[in-house]
């Protein structure tokens, strides 16, 4: 093929490739965009689409917290501060402070593993931005509260039973990666 041939070939290539390219991009005009318009224009909240075991911001169910300090000891960066004292009257434990510093927390999940009741657990919440470090400290105890004392056998208090079963379900999930067998219901202490 001579010079003229390659010249004409070049023109033909340019025209046909641009023609095809324009057709490809034109087909994109009738395709739905992939964009997820986080945070305010999603069909469901993004938090609700996350898996159950997602390690989001920590939360504590104080109703079932035994005050055992297992999470405080497990925390590698000491972002959990718990103060418990004995109540001389009932010989039970009183939790007077339960603070988690979300600014320090590295979401390793080591605190929720040893928790005997699943009281401290991760949520799927991840939007923690705030204007000051101080406000990132989550203070769960508003006023001193009696620690939960695990009973032998199933939980009989109808108010606490669903919370406890939820915590146990969470722990089961934790113990069985990938498994989602039903909640054990109770735990012998």
């Amino acid at each position: 093929m001579g010079a003229i041939g390659s010249y004409v070939e070049n023109i033909k290539d340019a025209v046909t490739t641009i023609f095809e390219g324009m057709a490809v991009t034109a087909s994109h005009f009738v395709r739905k965009p992939y964009t997820v318009q986080y945070p305010d224009r999603t069909e469901v909240r993004v938090q609700d689409t996350l898996p159950f075991r997602y390690r989001g911001i920590l939360e504590v169910d104080l109703e079932i917290c035994t005050g055992c300090l297992a999470c405080e000891r497990a925390c590698p960066i000491d972002c959990i501060v718990i103060a418990v004292e004995k109540d001389p009257a009932t010989r039970g434990m009183i939790i007077s402070q339960f603070d988690i510093d979300i600014a320090k927390c590295m979401f390793c999940g080591l605190c929720s593993e040893p928790c005997p009741t699943g009281s401290i657990h991760h949520t799927t919440e991840f939007e923690g931005a705030d204007f000051s470090l101080e406000s990132l400290i989550r203070r769960f105890v508003k006023e001193p509260i009696h620690a939960y004392k695990a009973k032998k056998g199933p939980e009989t208090d109808p108010r606490l039973a669903p919370i406890l079963s939820r915590g146990m379900h969470y722990l089961d999930q934790w113990a069985q990666p990938g498994g989602d067998k039903p909640a054990a219901g109770t735990e012998e202490s």
């Binding site: 010249y7 070049n10 023109i11 641009i18 023609f19 095809e20 390219g21 324009m22 057709a23 490809v24 991009t25 034109a26 087909s27 994109h28 005009f29 009738v30 395709r31 739905k32 965009p33 992939y34 964009t35 318009q37």
Partner: protein
């Protein structure tokens, strides 16, 4: 214009002995300010938003849709932001040239509006050298861009400016040669004269008049894109190589001026092509009322121009940037010889059929429809092959 000034003088608003020239000057300033602030600049701004939305859809994104309904006011937010920014002049820059360059670029953008044929009556000045004037004043851009590149005292700016100069000067030649066939067929350079020589029906457009004009229209469109520094020819401001080319050292309002001129030039590119090849404002005579006819013609002209603006955005979303040597190869080895061949071919055509060949128009138009159908079939093929649900809403 003259009657307007005389009415103003007669009203006695300016006092008794006001000279005619003073009132005329004020009227010119006020009117041109109204046209540019009310039409040209908002158009440039809105095009910037439309362009971002169009690219976004090409890339399966959404684009700016937060400011105002569907993000329509994004251009105002961007404009206010740029105007409020500090106007920085680099220490080593040439302050006079540096400050003057954006105005020259904007000047090259506003001058063509004088001969813009919006309708049979709506034209500021129907110069008898209209299309020549259009190509001449749009070429002022090169002075502004080169000035910006030189005065910034920056290697990136200088390379961008020099590239732009080389590019615009080179592509003036095929662009000018592609205007020739139309001028040969009409025997006039006036914008209105060229439009009146065409009909409202596509087979009477110069695009389909003969094979040479069809090629000329394409060459003119591509050359105009190159002159407007548009992708795939945006080498002067190649972001990945030259930061922002000649605009590297600019900030705030002066930076905005360059890009306003670039987006506004899209309208001028579209207007040149629509006037020369797509029948301009020609519309079938459905009414004897001149106002109704002028409004219909205005709409026709704008639809044609906006379609071409859309095509240039579409091209920008499709094609990658060419290399500088490919750019020059395309111009000098392909466009210039083909444009010359076009010119000679049209001359022969006009010599054989001085009044034009009506059959050729129908054949060319039929061929154009066939190409369009093939194109739509390819689009449908690619849309189906993507295995995605189809979504026909232009906004989201």
């Amino acid at each position: 214009m003259r009657t307007l000034v005389q009415t103003l003088l007669a009203s006695g608003f300016f006092g008794r002995n006001t000279p005619y020239d003073l009132v005329a000057a004020i009227a010119v300033f006020v009117l041109s300010a109204a046209v540019f602030l009310g039409v040209a600049f908002p158009f440039a701004g809105i095009v910037s938003w439309v362009e971002r939305r169009v690219w976004a859809r090409i890339q399966s994104r959404v684009g700016p849709n937060r400011v105002g309904p569907n993000g329509f006011l994004q251009w105002l937010a961007d404009g206010v932001k740029h105007v409020c920014k500090e106007d920085i002049v680099p220490t080593d820059a040439d302050p006079v040239l540096f400050k003057m360059a954006p105005y020259l670029v904007v000047l090259a953008f506003v001058l063509p509006w004088a001969v813009m044929p919006f309708s049979s009556a709506l034209i500021l000045a129907d110069l008898n050298v209209g299309i020549l004037y259009m190509t001449a004043v749009t070429a002022i851009t090169v002075v502004g861009v080169l000035m910006a590149g030189w005065a910034s005292n920056d290697k990136w700016s200088l390379i961008g400016g020099i590239r732009s100069a080389a590019q615009i000067v080179s592509y003036e030649i095929p662009a000018g040669l592609s205007i020739f066939p139309v001028v040969l067929m009409t025997g006039t350079l006036s914008m209105q004269g060229i439009i009146r020589a065409q009909g409202w029906a596509p087979q009477h457009w110069f695009l389909f008049a003969n094979p040479f004009t069809f090629v000329a229209a394409n060459i003119l469109f591509i050359s105009a894109l190159a002159e407007g520094n548009r992708t795939p020819f945006d080498l002067p401001e190649a972001e990945s190589e030259l930061v922002a080319g000649f605009a590297t050292e600019y900030s705030g309002m002066r930076y905005l001026f360059f890009f306003m001129a670039e987006w506004g030039n899209l309208f001028i590119i579209g207007a040149i092509i629509a006037t020369l090849f797509l029948g301009g404002w020609q519309f079938p005579r459905v009414s004897n009322n001149p106002v109704v006819m002028n409004v219909l013609e205005l709409i026709t002209f704008n639809v044609k121009v906006l379609f071409l603006v859309f095509v240039s955005m579409w091209v920008r979303g499709t094609l990658p940037r060419v290399r500088i040597d490919q750019l020059m190869t395309l111009c000098w080895k392909y466009f210039v010889p083909i444009a010359f061949a076009n010119m000679i071919g049209t001359a022969i055509w006009v010599a054989i059929w001085p009044e034009g060949n009506p059959v050729a128009g129908y054949i060319m138009f039929a061929a154009g429809i066939v190409v369009a159908i093939v194109f739509i079939r390819r689009v449908v093929f690619y849309a189906k092959r993507s295995q995605m649900e189809l979504y026909y809403y232009p906004t989201i």
